[in-house]
Assembly symmetry: C2
Homo-oligomer: 184 residues x 2
């Protein structure tokens, strides 16, 4: 009712900050991104003996788990977080390092397999114990079993939306197979 003090914030340069800047959804998104960035940074240390980065680990592991330890370039690209051309360049490096070889496809001369070499498998297995120890220390042992379970369930749900090609259900339908169990 006074004539003075009608606008207490008069001198403020900022006025009112936009409420969406503090929306809780941004908090959730930031948590996911920051946590994953920190995790990836730590994992890089495990990979130093191999002289490769996190994307390479992803690719080496997929090859190691595949029948005959081989996968078509396009398959590998589709399953990884790289584009086709990114995978070509990564496999170039892994080939120079002797961890992976390329083999032409006998039935389709346009295609190539990336094959994990015996050396590649050996070196991967060499670093795996230390890597698993890291994952345990910073991720799986940080949560108690119920929390870890809920965490993985949540990640699967989100992944099914943001990366449908990785979703086991979708992958199975594409391949016309029965529902599989997820292992990555």
């Amino acid at each position: 009712m006074t004539t003075r003090g009608e606008r207490v914030e008069e001198a403020s340069v900022d006025a009112v900050p936009h409420p969406l800047l503090f929306d809780e959804r941004l908090t959730a998104a930031g948590l996911l991104v920051e946590t994953c960035a920190g995790f990836r940074e730590l994992v890089e240390v495990d990979l130093e003996p191999l002289g490769v980065n996190g994307s390479a680990l992803e690719v080496l592991l997929r090859l190691a788990r595949s029948p005959e330890r081989r996968l078509r370039m396009s398959e590998l690209a589709a399953q990884s977080t790289l584009t086709n051309s990114g995978l070509t360049r990564l496999v170039d490096r892994l080939q120079v390092a002797g961890l992976v070889a390329r083999e032409p496809c006998a039935t389709d001369r346009r295609g190539y397999f990336a094959v994990l070499t015996p050396t590649g498998l050996d070196q991967l297995e060499q670093i795996l114990p230390a890597h698993l120890e890291t994952v345990d220390r910073v991720l799986t042992s940080v949560l108690d079993p119920d929390e870890l379970d809920a965490f993985e369930r949540a990640l699967r749900k989100v992944r099914a939306v943001v990366r449908p090609a990785s979703d086991p259900g979708v992958a199975a339908r594409l391949a016309d197979e029965p529902e599989p169990v997820d292992a990555a």
Copy 2:
């Protein structure tokens, strides 16, 4: 006991795959990394109008939420997922785009502030509704409230280990302040 069939797997080229290749910890790690990669990829679409990437969004949001919408370069680098030099280059680009300005620090002539420009704030607020809609669609609305809560608690726990500088507790102790509430 027979002399034949001593090694049923004789013909197998692969012998037994190494069990660590299928360790459940790799599954947890892969889920985190793949999910985050897919999430970041989708977010890039929201940022096209701004002509920037996900790292830039992180930086713009931090500036927008800071007093006077400014932060020292080194502060900003420490809080972001970039190195000092990476931040220098990002701010270069944001400056060219007119979204951020540099201002020298009056009390320490070695230092600079990155300041969000009025244009930068405006453009950030322009894209925020669509971005929040994306986050909701692929993350926060995918989980029901209990799941989302557990998910965020788990992420905070892991982040505190993999990125201790981002942990509110650590940050407060460094700044000699009482325990804060986390908002990112």
